[in-house]
């Protein structure tokens, strides 16, 4: 009898979780419809996009460059330490570092980092506007708040993230070069030969496609959680956390789907 109640309660939890997931999916779809409504005034919309490019993109440049440089260096050194057989040429380290950075690091890992930085920023900004009635004020004026506040963020982030990804690739590979040559583990010419060896330009296209999808996920999911905050400062904090977690999980899921679709 105890087992019966135990499994019944588990089933009930699974049912409620599934229903909540469908509830959020439905509400997210309705929310997207509002976000992609016609902008109120094009001149204002363009100004908003430029401001968001600065806030979401340019302000993230520093963290992207620092992380890319260090990760490029670590990938190179770890690969060099693990490929210690004399029959494997040194340039393999450059090749491995290049492919790791191009295929995974600069799109997925940078995407996850930006989910933390940009995602929490968007969710807390929109959430604070919700609890301080600024969103209500827009609605009273006859402005579509979702379109006015969120669409510029989505457009700006989707537009700027390919640039961040390309910069991350360059800085990551340079970080690897410096680490390899400064420690003497991978001579500079070998590393440069490695990063040019069997290069497939499609890897860059693949990374850029992924980064654009991740940018859309980060901007819309974070805005969704911020937009539907109810309560006060505590709920804004919770929404911010939910935004980062949900965006990160979706990034990992779509990473898998896109890898299968684009590289299979």
């Amino acid at each position: 009898m105890e087992y019966y109640y135990f499994y019944l309660s588990k089933l009930r939890t699974i049912f409620h979780t599934t229903m909540r997931m469908f509830y959020h999916l439905g509400r997210y779809a309705i929310f997207l419809k509002k976000v992609f409504g016609k902008p109120e005034k094009h001149s204002v919309f363009i100004k908003q996009i430029v401001r968001e490019i600065d806030k979401l993109g340019i302000d993230s440049l520093g963290i992207v460059m620092i992380i890319s440089a260090f990760m490029g260096a670590v990938i190179t050194l770890q690969t060099a330490y693990n490929i210690d057989l004399p029959i494997i040429p040194k340039y393999t380290v450059g090749l491995a570092a290049r492919d790791s950075i191009l295929l995974e690091f600069s799109s997925t890992i940078v995407g996850l980092i930006l989910a933390g930085k940009v995602g929490s920023n968007i969710a807390s900004e929109i959430g604070t506007m919700r609890v301080t009635e600024q969103i209500d004020a827009l609605e009273i004026m006859g402005i579509n708040p979702a379109g006015y506040l969120i669409l510029p963020k989505v457009v700006a982030f989707v537009f700027i993230i390919p640039a961040l990804t390309v910069i991350s690739m360059g800085v990551g590979i340079t970080g690897g070069y410096l680490a390899g040559s400064l420690t003497g583990e991978v001579p500079g010419p070998d590393y440069i030969y490695g990063i040019q060896f069997a290069f497939q330009p499609f890897y860059i296209v693949y990374a850029l496609i992924k980064s654009v999808v991740f940018a859309f996920i980060i901007a819309t999911i974070s805005a969704y959680w911020g937009y539907h905050v109810q309560g006060g400062a505590l709920e804004v904090g919770k929404a911010s956390t939910k935004a980062v977690v949900a965006s990160s999980v979706q990034i990992l899921l779509f990473n898998l789907i896109l890898t299968q679709l684009l590289l299979a």
Binding site: E40, T132, Q134, D136, A137
Partner: protein, 251 residues
């Protein structure tokens, strides 16, 4: 004029508004009073369309708000100004930009003309040397004035104020009340103020409705309010020791 006809509003199973019917007259400061949790804010937000009502109707100058299509609702909203409890100014914009915001969104005026209008509204609410300050750099009373200036920027026909004195000292509260009253007369607007401040009632209450547990229990003017034989209204008015004392002194 705004007319509420048998408004019901429920949140899930809880009925917050239970059939409220009333008229808010043009050119007058109409007050909705009641204790916290009585449904005042829900009624105000239902009137402006921030809450969808469960049943009933809302009429703006004999036009049913519920029957309007989205374009008409949007046009109507440009005739509505609203002062929120926490001012709801946009943090990232300066005072002048906040006031100019509705003009930027809904007019094709030149920047010069928009600035002129914004400055007129800022001067009208007697704000000085604050144009380039951000909301976080000015006091609560000044924030309310900026919110009023923003609300009147498009010269609205209807003004809604949700607890305009919340968080203000008594002196500033009176200044804000008088400002709302003056603006109502000057621009001949239909103004609805949601308050539980008896000083506002005595100061500017031309047409007052008392809400208790989601029902309208009384309607009248500030001159009648002290003579009403209604226990709930009496409890509300004389909750303040000051008003109790006045009643005792007047026998």
């Amino acid at each position: 004029m705004i007319e509420a006809i048998d408004i019901h509003k429920s949140f899930d199973d809880k009925e917050v508004l239970k059939g409220i019917s009333t008229k808010f007259e043009k050119g007058k400061t109409n007050l909705i009073i009641g204790q916290s949790g009585s449904g005042k804010t829900v009624l105000l937000k239902s009137l402006v369309g921030l809450h969808d009502i469960t049943s009933g109707d809302i009429r703006y100058d004999d036009n049913s708000f519920l029957s309007m299509d989205n374009a008409s609702k949007k046009r109507l909203r440009q005739d509505i100004g609203m002062l929120f409890q926490g001012s709801a100014l946009f943090d990232s914009l300066t005072v002048e930009e906040n006031v100019r915001f509705p003009l930027d969104m809904f007019t094709n005026w030149s920047l010069e003309k928009k600035r002129e209008r914004a400055n007129f509204c800022i001067n009208r609410v007697k704000l000085e040397n604050a144009n380039h300050k951000f909301p976080s750099e000015i006091s609560g009373g000044m924030q309310k004035r900026v919110a009023i200036a923003r609300a009147i920027a498009l010269n609205p026909k209807y003004l809604f104020c949700d607890e305009p004195n919340s968080g203000l000292d008594p002196r500033t509260s009176i200044v804000i009340d008088e400002l709302i009253h003056e603006i109502t007369k000057e621009f001949d607007m239909t103004t609805i103020v949601n308050t539980h401040d008896m000083n506002s009632v005595m100061g500017i209450g031309e047409n007052i409705i008392f809400i208790y547990e989601g029902r309208k229990l009384w309607e009248g003017t500030k001159d009648d309010i002290f003579h009403v034989q209604n226990k709930e209204l009496e409890d509300f008015i004389f909750a303040s020791k000051l008003f109790k004392k006045i009643r005792e002194n007047n026998g």
